[in-house]
Symmetry: C2
Subunit: 300 residues, 2 copies
């Protein structure tokens, strides 16, 4: 089978954990250990989130000085370097002799996407309300509640086309394990002259992963996080896991925006468009989700 | 012909220029305009330096807080993301319909390389002597004179093996324009268990480019900078450009360490090992250097 696996930000960095070099490396090792068995049996393509990382790089750059601060497309590319390297290195360590590649990935978005007027994607650390409002004033950020605290939010336009899809397909066809579309890809917009320019946004990595899986004719799309399944009535005494569902069954329900809702949407999109199966669950259950013994499976 | 082109830090950022997003983008556009004509006639592989960029990221990270500062291998990977993205985007804009790829590249170094005890690679901005000595005390840096001012220097071990060479060859064989080995590659060392770990260093990008060109059986290695040729007696009234030389003729001469000497060494290594031709000169003269009408050519 051809399997696209999306590693959630919460699979790479535990909630509330500091983004230290040691934490990040330990978490990537844990992720690689969960994915390596899949690579033995299947064609494996790995994508990853970058919310905490891109937020930290933005903060570091802006704190150091506005003259050298970089726009979000460049910061997205930096996180593809940072995280892609660590994932590729640790997967390679567990799969000696296998070819691996981590590829920078540009993804076209529509400059008229309504997301540009309505930022929703949380990046960087959480703040209390007073801190968040002060940062919003000082830096022109948009901030929104995230649980009981606040985070910066940026535009998250829909991914339209993966510029490197031909190269990715070429590598996957040659049995290379490919890490790509990290952080949802680097957002670019088409200019009037036909060329591409960067744009300040962070594409949702589940939406980008669903597009990638469709374009690659993947058999399965796995979205891995720190929650064991999609739940109905999450956060209530009635909460119960959904083991299997069709895209239509999920369409009638609501899920937490910014965390589970994008995964469910991506699962529905992929399953509807391809007839493949989409799975959502814990990193450690990757193989079991694919086997149907853990997590939530979505298929027509 | 198969041509490996190494873009020097000074070709991507003019000496003394601030590393702003706008400057960097403008310089990458200029570089892409110089390289695109080569891609029409030849197989093109592009590498690039990262001295100013990796130094800035290190500074931003350390200034923000030691808890989230990343080691140099991770910062090298971030610069491969940042610069690789911009080069790939702008080359793609000038060569619509051509496949391009920017690949993270790990390069093995020897943990017993004497460079680890003797840091020589300048990174980041220049400081006056008092600033440099204060930073050395406060942050444990090694600083050295760079022209009339001072810069931080880090270990620059010799590149031994390019981990992704099989993937790079696969892409080049399929006519993909590949950006790789940026910043001299991400330095890794082999552990006792056979796996790889990152290491704090910055590999010289000319040395890495020479290794890449050898491994790819390239016909030519071009090292592009802001100087029009290699000069004898540089900085004296007798300064005169060298138009052609054999590796042996250059072995008898001395060149500026940290700038021209590594390029001359890389040119000698490549020409000696392969029978190919190595060229050194200005970015704008890329095509003319290959034709033998500008720059310095080194061949057996």
């Amino acid at each position: 089978m051809r399997v696209v696996v999306a590693l959630g930000g919460n699979a790479l960095l535990h909630r509330g954990e500091a983004l230290s070099a040691a934490n990040q490396q330990d978490n990537v090792k844990r992720a690689a250990a969960a994915l390596a068995p899949l690579a033995r049996d299947h064609e494996l393509i790995v994508t990853h989130g970058n919310g905490p990382q891109v937020g930290l790089l933005a903060l570091q750059g802006e704190s150091f000085g506005p003259d050298t601060a970089q726009p979000l497309d460049v910061l997205d590319a930096e996180t593809e370097g940072m995280i892609g390297y660590l994932i590729e290195r640790e997967l390679g360590n567990l799969l000696p002799g296998r070819k691996t590649a981590a590829l920078l990935t540009q993804i076209e978005v529509d400059p008229r996407d309504p997301a540009f007027a309505n930022p929703t994607k949380p990046i960087g650390p959480v703040y209390d309300q007073a801190q968040a409002e002060e940062l919003a004033r000082a830096r022109g950020w948009t901030v929104r509640p995230d649980g009981e605290r606040y985070r910066r939010v940026v535009p998250s336009p829909a991914p339209m086309a993966i510029l490197e899809i031909g190269v990715i397909r070429l590598l996957v066809d040659q049995a290379v394990i490919v890490v790509c579309a990290g952080g949802g890809g680097i957002p670019v917009v088409r200019r009037a002259d036909g060329g591409f320019a960067g744009v300040e946004a962070v594409i949702d990595k589940d939406a980008a992963s669903a597009l990638l899986a469709r374009d690659l004719d993947a058999d399965a799309l796995l979205m891995l996080t720190d929650v064991d399944a999609v739940y109905e009535d999450w956060g209530t005494p009635n909460a119960r896991p959904i083991r299997q569902a069709t895209p239509e069954q999920l369409a009638a329900k609501t899920f937490a925006p910014g965390s589970m809702a994008p995964k469910v949407q991506a699962a529905r999109d992929f399953a509807t468009a391809t007839g493949g199966v989409a799975g959502i669950g814990r990193l450690e259950d990757a193989g079991a989700i694919l086997d149907g013994t853990a997590g939530t499976l979505v298929a027509r």
